[in-house]
Each structure stands twice: as C-alpha cells, then as structure tokens.
C-alpha cells in the first residue's frame, strides 16, 4: 500500500524524474563533500549576516511595533548585498543545526547553498532534456559540475552559485513563457519568470542585467516581425514575462529585504552606488598584478580557457559554434525545415532561432561583461559563473548532436563514449583538487604547477587554511595568537563554534603580535610573508645575520604551496 503511495509522489514524466534525481544527487554530494572545504572571506561575513537575518522574524513577533528598528538592526550586517540567499542559509541553519541538531553550524548554513546547487542541477537537467533528450538531461548538469571551480562553488554559503541558479531558472522560465499556450498557462509561466527574477535580484546585483539581456533577445529574435508591425501590435507582442518581471522583481526584492523598508529609494541608491563604484583589488594575471583599470579584455576568456577541463571546454566551445550554425540555418530556413538534434523527439527538436539567440546571449554576455576593461577583476570564474550553465547546455547538446550525425544507428553508445571522454578527466580533476577549488587549473595550463609558472592567481579568499587546521590544533601552544591573514575573523569564529579550531587560540592582527602566522600564497600580498620573517626572526648573535624562520607546516597542491605556517620560537610543539 505504501509503495504505490510513494510512487505517486514521484514526478510523473521521465524528464521531471531525471531533474529530481539530479537535484537529490547534487544535494547529497555537496553535503558529503562540504565539510572538507574551508570558509572564504565572503562566506564568513554571510554566515554572520544569515544568523542575524534569521533572528528577525522572531524579534518582530516579540516586538511588532518596533519592526523598522529591528529591520535596521538585524539587516545591517552585509547590507551591501541583498539578503535572499543569506535568509535561506539562516533558515536552514536554524532548522538543521539549532532546532534539530542534525548538522554542524557550518553545514546547517551551507545546506541552503546545496539547495541552490540542486535547483541549478534540476534546471539544467530539464532544459537539457528539452534540447537533446535524455542524454542532454544527463550530460548538461554533468558538464557543469565536472569543472572543479564550479564544484567548489556548490559548497559555500555564498552568493555566486545561488544567483547562477536563479539566473538560469529565470531564463528557463522566460523561455517557457514564450512557448506556453495563450491564456492561463502563459500567465502562470510569465508570473514564474517574474518571481524568479525577483529572487535573483534579491540574491545578487548581477541579476539586474537580466532584463536588458532578455529585452535584447526579444528585439533580436522578433526584429523582422516588429519592423512591419504598428505600435499597438508591437505592444501586444511584448512577452508577458516582461511586465511580470518589472512588477514582481522590485516587489520580491522589497519584501525580502527589510533593510530597504525605512527609506527604499535612498537605501536602494546607496546599494547601487556601492556596486557602481566597487573598489579594485590586486589580482595576479599572467605574472602581472592587476590593480587599476584598464584591465585586459582577454582576462575572463583566458581564465576560462585555463580552468575548465580541456575536453569539457571543447564541448562547450563546440556547443557555441553549433548554436551559431543552428541560428544561422534557422534564419535561412524557417523552423519547419529544421533537422533533428536529439534522440527521437518532436517538440524538443523544434528549437527555434529565438532559442538559439537566447542560449547564445546568456552563454556569452556574463563573460563579455567582465571583459569590459573598467570592470574590477577578482574572484576568478565566479563573476561570470551565470554563463557557465548555458555553455554546459550547449556543450551537452553538441555532443548528442555529433553522435547522432556521425553514427545515427549507435547514437546512444557514441554519446556515452564522448561523455566518458569529456567527463572522466574532468571528474578526476574535481576529486584531485577538492577542497582547494579556487586553486584549480586545467591540463592546458599544466594544472596548479603550470599555472604557478604562468603567473596566475594561485587561490583566493582564505579558505585553503582549512588544510592546516588539524596540525594547528595538534601543535600550537595553549593560547597561541594566530595571524590568519586572508582568513576572515568570522570564518575562524565559525570553525571555533563547531570545534574545528581550538577555542584557546586567539586572534592576532599582525605578525608582530602573533605566535603563529598562516601565510596564504597571494603573490600580490607577499609582503605579509616577509613581515612574518622579520617579526619571527630569532635575535642574531653578535656578528651573525638574523636567521629567517622556516615554515613548520603547509598545504601543497601538486607541489605548489597554497598555505604555509610559520611559528615563533617555542610556539609550535
């Protein structure tokens, strides 16, 4: 009796079941692999903010007349970024860690991030199915997650993967709203696109680029029809998703972000100003420290080429070319004449030029945006991460289409073989690099060693210190003062709360007041290591030079140092 009931709860179509299976698998893998991963600077801040935000509803229930003051207090933390993802982290933490005590505090927060990763997997699987059938549904999420830096971003309670998931979901909903039958289904689809857009802008500011991008798509794909139409006809043809996004986007943002409530216009302007005048951080690129614009236009393209596993990169590039060719062929031959792309489908083979333009725009625009010479360069691929699901979709479809073209009778087997060629080394690199995803470079770069020789940024944001925690706990003298450098104080506090770092270890602001120094390789911050040498050098005997200290422990990725620990004499047992 129970089994049929459970079966009834399962999604009804194979497409939905595949998407659900991908979501569950992503959630499980992310949860299993997260504890090994460190806490980056931004995540440390978001953990504090998430807990503060999550306490807001309870505070309002206790003192409803002070809602505005409470909103200001609880949402003051990290108010330069909108709150939605952090609110989700706060809720999952309150539920899983505080109430049910099922997870550590960190894992409780991060469970919210796993949910966003699961959402992205399910969108990729569903859209992959639409583009290239079952093989597309299996391949698209795999191509995305088999990139070590993408896999890394599945774990932290940060904003980049959530906005990537919501960006993809919004575009997917928009695309479906264009195809939905008129009437209620179309309204529902448009409302969903609007709500998802609201969630995206409530997560990170780069989602504000979605409306102009989608508008560009609509204008580009409807240019011919619009040219001959009257203004009234043009207005009638405006996709319902646009008014839905214009209405629901700001509404969802306002509802989700109590910090805006006291003075929405002024505070939104403050938030926008912060991002329009974002400071530049030093960043190493091909042996140069980038600090001030103009920055190299090639940067995001080069970094993508050196970090996405080579075979996956080729599949994605092939997918771009394939989509361009399809868009051009649809332009010449209307959709009625198109060839089949996937395995035996009908509707899914009927992707129009409009769909190709949509996929291409989303695959290229986020990268082109960061290529703009005045846009700050830091943080590796995460700044153009919203492009990567679209490249994964295009890559998956291209592999399926190649197999169908080359050997129609054995297309399934050939697709599986191509998938194995593309994914095996990529999966290997994911496993090899984890948990040091920000240090991942592909085989074209020569891995971490080749990238170090090329003078590429070795890592960022301080999470690789996680690799020395066990040794630190084992060897640091009681009450040792530790200069953590790139690791944020809030990150250390989070580790101490979970018992990952000894509670007696104290925070030091610099090497002069520290017993231990955790040097994290950033060539642009190299002075921090040399300051440590000066501060920790033993007083020389008369007539001798000071002997510089040597590291007592370290984290190395393929011999490339990521972290080294220095100790004052007597501070390391």
């Amino acid at each position: 009796v129970t089994l049929p009931r459970l079966a009834a709860l399962l999604p009804r179509t194979a497409r939905s079941r595949t998407a659900a299976a991908w979501a569950v698998a992503t959630l499980a893998v992310a949860a299993l692999t997260a504890p090994a991963q460190g806490i980056g600077r931004d995540e440390g801040v978001y953990l504090v903010a998430a807990e503060s935000y999550a306490a807001f509803p309870g505070a309002v229930v206790r003192a409803p007349t002070q809602a505005l003051a409470l909103a200001d207090r609880h949402f003051a933390a990290n108010h330069e970024h909108p709150p939605l993802a952090k609110e989700v982290y706060g809720v999952t933490h309150a539920l899983l860690a505080d109430a049910l005590r099922l997870t550590s505090h960190l894992e409780g927060f991060r469970f919210g991030a796993f949910l966003f990763a699961a959402l992205l997997s399910s969108v990729l699987a569903a859209w992959g199915w639409d583009l290239a059938g079952r093989a597309g549904a299996l391949l698209a999420p795999a191509l995305f997650w088999a990139v070590p830096r993408h896999f890394y971003h599945a774990h932290p309670a940060a904003l980049d993967l959530p906005v990537t998931a919501l960006w993809a979901a919004t575009v997917f909903a928009y695309a479906r709203s264009l195809r939905a039958p008129e009437g209620r289904p179309r309204v529902r689809a448009a409302l969903l696109a609007g709500a998802l857009f609201g969630a995206a802008v409530s997560t990170k500011h780069n989602a504000w680029f979605l409306p102009p991008l989608l508008l560009a798509h609509w204008v580009a794909s409807s240019a011919l029809a619009l040219r001959r139409a009257t203004w009234a006809e043009r207005l009638q043809r405006v996709p319902l998703a646009f008014p839905a996004m214009a209405l629901l986007g700001p509404l969802v943002l306002l509802a989700a972000w109590p910090w805006l409530w006291r003075d929405p216009v002024a505070r939104f302007a403050e938030y926008a100003r912060f991002h329009l005048h974002h400071e530049n951080y030093s960043w190493l690129y091909l042996g140069r420290v980038l600090r001030e614009p103009p920055f190299p236009v090639a940067y995001p393209f080069v970094v993508t080429a050196l970090t996405v596993p080579a075979a996956v990169l080729l599949a994605m590039t092939g997918g771009l070319v394939h989509a361009l060719a399809r868009a051009a062929s649809f332009h010449v031959h209307p959709p009625a004449n198109e060839e089949r792309a996937g395995e035996g489908g009908e509707a899914r083979d009927a992707a129009s030029a409009s769909d190709e333009v949509l996929l291409l725009l989303n695959a290229l625009f986020p990268i082109a945006l960061i290529a703009w010479p005045s846009v700050p360069r830091f943080g590796g691929v995460k700044h153009w991460l919203p492009a990567m699901p679209f490249l994964a979709l295009l890559g998956a479809r291209a592999l399926v289409a190649a197999a169908h073209t080359l050997w129609p009778a054995r297309a399934g087997w050939l697709t599986a073989a191509l998938a194995a060629f593309a994914l095996a080394p990529a999966a290997w690199s994911v496993a090899h690099v984890h948990p040091y995803g920000t240090a991942a470079y592909n085989e074209l770069a020569g891995g971490a060693p080749g990238a170090a020789t090329l003078g590429m940024q070795r890592q960022f944001w301080g999470d690789d210190a996680v690799g020395v925690l066990d040794e630190l706990n084992a060897h640091a003298i009681p009450g040792a003062r530790v200069w953590w450098q790139e690791t944020a104080r809030s990150a250390v506090a989070a580790w101490q709360r979970d018992g990952r770092v000894r509670a007696d270890l104290r925070w030091a602001e610099g090497p002069e007041e520290a017993d231990l120094s955790i040097w994290q390789y950033h060539q642009e911050f190299r002075d921090k290591e040399y300051r440590t040498w000066t501060a920790f050098a033993e007083r020389p005997r008369p007539g001798e030079r000071a002997r510089l200290p040597r590291p007592v422990a370290g984290v190395y990725l393929d011999e490339v140092p990521l972290v080294q620990v220095y100790a004052r004499a007597g501070a390391w047992r």
Binding site: L314, L406, W428
Partner: protein, 305 residues
C-alpha cells in the same frame, strides 16, 4: 536547394567529426595528464634526500635556488641554514654574500623551463651535477665572481644616525628607530617587486620639508657602492607624488633614485668609489616624498671590494 542541403550536411558531419575527435583526444590527454602528474613531481622521500644532501654538503655562503621558483616547499623541507632564493630569473640578481648556489629543480613539473639554470650556469666557475633524487634534480653552481661585500649597510643600522626633518630618532630595544611624528626605521625583510628584500625599511613623512636621513658612519669603501630603493608592497601602486632617495658620501652627492607612483621596481643605483677605496666614510640616505600620504620604502646598499 539540394546542393545547399548537401553542403550543409557535409559541413555538419565535418563539424561533428572534429568535435568528437577533439573531445576524445583531449579526454585521453587529460586522463594521461592527471594519472602521470604524481610521477612528475617529487615525493616527500625525494625532499628528505635533498635535505640530507644539503645538510651534509652545504656550507656558509651557500644558498638554494629553486626552479621553478614557486617550489617553495623547499623552505619547509630543506635545512634552515641555507637561504632559499625563489627568483624566476637570476640574470639581474646580485646574490650578495653568496659564493655557491644549490639549484633544486623539479625538471618534470608542468611548465618547467631551464631559464634559471641557464642564468646561473652563465655566472659559474664550476658546475657539479645534476644529481637526480627522484622528482628532484640538484646542481651545485660555484659563482665565478661572488659579490661578497665589505659592508652591507642594512646590517649596520644599529650604528646609524637617523633623523626626520633634522630631529633625531630614538633607537629602540627591539632594533630600529622611532622618530618624531610616528615614523619608524628598522632593519627588515620586505617585498619590493614581489621579492624579499633585506633592507632598511621606513615610512616617509609625506612632507618634503621633513625628509628622513639615515647616516651610516665609518663605512669602509671599496671599488663601488651599490644599492637599491623601492616602495614596499601594494603601496608601490598608490601615491600621488614621487619619492626621492638621495645617496651621499661624506656629504657629497653620490647617487639618486626617483620612485614615481606605480613604479613597483627595485631600482638600482651604483657609484664608483675606487678613488676612495680603503678609507672609511659616512654614507647617508635622504628620503623625501612629494606625495600627500606616507609611503613605506625599502633601501639597501653594500660596499663592494
């Protein structure tokens, strides 16, 4: 229409073939790369073998050079008595006080180049090795003309006379000087042009009328006085005015360096002192800053025989 369709189909097949072949080829290459990578790199045992070799054969005046430069596990693994030089090239480096260099190389590491080795061999009077220790290769290079200074001025900072705007600075117990207005001068190792520079470190007063002067009395001169100046770390990329370093010997101008904002270099200077060789003199650095914010500077000089 049929001809166009045929061309399109042929192009589609060609594209599919190229993509499939490329993915298969890169997939095999990637698998081979990751499976072979551990064999191309040194094991902990290899590092211990190198450490034992250097502990046995190293002597004062020796240093370890790394190729590639980033192989800085050497700092943790090799004997602390040998300084480690993590420079990408050695052609322009003076290697002050070093007579022999042990080049520790990872010859099979991805991206490995022999540049550092070639630079050192060009300066060698004798080369011994390479000795292969698993994934490591150790070569001893005896320098043909080692720069062994008569005096390295940063090491003599304790005996210096330091002033800011003519007001004397006070020597502190930990070494170095505290100056009026909060400035400090000390013997430190700091980063200039991404490399460690043992130097006299200080912070400018950002007031051209209050330059910092650091006078080293009793410096025995040789054939030349050679040194460098630079702005430390990220501060080199900042600033709104040039920083000037003037060098004088017994009050006479001997050399000067100008460091403009954005100049990250470790700027060299040299002055011929052969006419004064053998006598002692007071060498004075005067640092003034035309910028509006204090900037950290690093300078060194040595008297060469």
């Amino acid at each position: 229409v049929n001809a166009v369709r045929a061309v399109r189909e042929r192009l589609a097949r060609l594209g599919a073939l190229l993509l499939a072949a490329g993915v298969a080829g890169l997939g095999l290459y990637g698998t081979r790369f990751y499976s072979a990578l551990p064999e191309r790199l040194p094991s902990p045992l290899d590092w211990r073998a190198a450490a034992a070799l250097l502990a046995r054969d190293g002597r004062p005046g020796d240093a370890v050079a790394l190729a590639p430069w980033w192989a800085e596990r050497a700092r943790e693994a090799l004997p602390a008595s040998l300084p480690v030089l993590a420079f990408s090239r050695f052609a322009g480096e003076e290697l002050v006080g070093i007579r022999r260099v042990w080049l520790v190389a990872l010859p099979a590491a991805p991206g490995f180049r022999r540049d550092a080795e070639e630079d050192l061999v060009e300066r060698a009077s004798a080369v011994e090795g390479p000795l292969r220790l698993g994934g490591l290769e150790v070569t001893r290079v005896d320098l043909r003309a080692p720069a062994v200074p008569i005096a390295f001025l940063p090491d003599r900072l304790r005996s210096a006379d330091v002033k800011v705007g003519g007001e004397p600075c006070v020597a502190v117990a930990a070494g170095g000087f505290r100056c009026p207005g909060g400035a400090a001068v000390a013997r430190e190792v700091r980063e200039v042009d991404l490399l460690p520079r043992p130097c006299v470190f200080g912070t400018t007063s950002a007031d051209p009328s209050r330059p910092i002067s650091i006078a080293f009395p009793g410096v025995r001169l040789g054939s030349s006085l050679r040194g460098h100046a630079g702005v430390v770390g990220e501060a080199a990329l900042e600033g709104d005015g040039p920083l000037h370093v003037e060098v004088s010997i017994d009050g006479r101008d001997a050399a000067g360096v100008e460091l403009v904002p954005g100049d990250t270099a470790w700027r060299p200077f040299t002055t011929d002192t052969s006419s004064q060789a053998g006598r002692t003199a007071t060498v004075t650095f005067t640092v003034s800053d035309a910028g509006s914010e204090p900037r950290p500077f690093c300078l060194d000089a040595c008297a060469l025989p």
